[in-house]
Assembly symmetry: C2
Homo-oligomer: 301 residues x 2
Amino acid sequence: MADAGGKTLTVPQRRPLKDALAYAGRVAEARIGFALSGLEGDVPEAMLYAVAGGKALRAFLVLETARLHKIDPVAVAGAAAAIECIHAYSLAHDDMPCMDDDALRRGQPTVHKKWDEATAVLAGDGLQALAFELLAQAECPLRPKLNLVITLANAAGVRGMVGGQAADMAAETAKEPLSLDQIIALQAGKTGALISWSALVGPRMAEAEREPLTTYGNALGLAFQIADDVLDVTGDASVVGKAVGKDHAAGKATFVSLLGLDGAKNRAASLVEEACDALSPYGDDAETLKEAARFVIARTH
Amino acid sequence: MADAGGKTLTVPQRRPLKDALAYAGRVAEARIGFALSGLEGDVPEAMLYAVAGGKALRAFLVLETARLHKIDPVAVAGAAAAIECIHAYSLAHDDMPCMDDDALRRGQPTVHKKWDEATAVLAGDGLQALAFELLAQAECPLRPKLNLVITLANAAGVRGMVGGQAADMAAETAKEPLSLDQIIALQAGKTGALISWSALVGPRMAEAEREPLTTYGNALGLAFQIADDVLDVTGDASVVGKAVGKDHAAGKATFVSLLGLDGAKNRAASLVEEACDALSPYGDDAETLKEAARFVIARTH
């Protein structure tokens, strides 16, 4: 395919979800590994460790929505790496003893368990800075790129992910358990903001209509968190790769405690339907994104 | 003063250091306060708390070097706020028990003492995201702005501030105390990178020659850290506003342990001279920046 300037673009064909996720993981890890090359010591090592072995769902959403909008994948590799940096930093910090106090993540010791708390703080901090460096260095036009920097900072910050995590911490000591609306708002920040941002990279880069992928991303993010709550109850820690049953044991309000197990599963399924329906303007080309939505609620880890 | 497009610029006249520092602090805090307006809870409150009451040296360097290059101060207010966000986040994280374990900062309880460790982690994380949001939203041309985003992310990250802090943590458990060259390299990351970045905002925004302010910023950053080591030995905690004597008591290699107290003071003084000499292309207009360099080694807090 050639663009108007005659430059050959290498927009790939659609591929099955499993391959597309693996590819997204490789793109993000390669970009991050290259950025850290030549550095020695625990902190750069912990940064790579924190990024490795995830599902790369967010990087996949970046690359796949860019593909739908005929954006050269090279132009969005930095954005794919950036969102995985943000996600990985949030896990390294959230797993710390003063936060969720988790020892296991992706079937491996969490960063502060493998190294120590100082390394977890610094690796997380370094990953957040690296996210913005990689995004701002992406090989793409300035205006959409700056828009991506602003929206990522907002999604990652106190009006997005950090705010959601803060609300989650506050809920633990609150007198009343959260209502369904409060949990939906909390999760829209904690998990939803990064997923929604990832799904909008394609239209933002192309400066195209954002509505279909806004609906898709918001529904997917919420379905993802409901599925997480379901996994917390039904999952096997050895398969999930992290501790399960903690929220349930702590008596925390979750989608399962509020909607019941079947109610939560049904809600997630109808959100996936909503997400898939929103993709109709893209036709068959969006099939892998639909597959991703179905995967999110069918996954065992 | 009017620029080529006829728009009236409001580049202020030079003012004395004390006024310029206070002004820079007000600009940064106002911008950050506005960004956090409407948010409730411990984390946004802790973010503002972490920013308030500092010397605002870095924001001052941003505004003052922009003034030297005839940049509208409105265009760099976001950059001034951004660097104070990064600085404040680094203090909130570095003061935590797993890092430097400090209870006092700017004469007030540190963030994890006033709230708790989770709040310190999240407030720091939120401030780093906010830094990039404010910088990327600055009202200035896209190309220099993106350049500022990339260079700030690099200065704040594992090749800059985070890397310097990691080296500092590693030095505590190392078998041999650090050499002078190693401490200079460590401090160039830990303290120097942000100071140098701040001093280059003016020429970067103006896309002008960076050499004079590169020399100034690098010399100033090193002088600043030597002065910190001197204060650790000679300072009074009630005036300094944080614990003193810790590095000395811990037997850590510092500029004072390596050069002696007089040797360290002499080194700092010659760095200040170097910093001031580098400003000669700017003539009398750079007098406040010279005053700042002299202040850095004369300060008692």
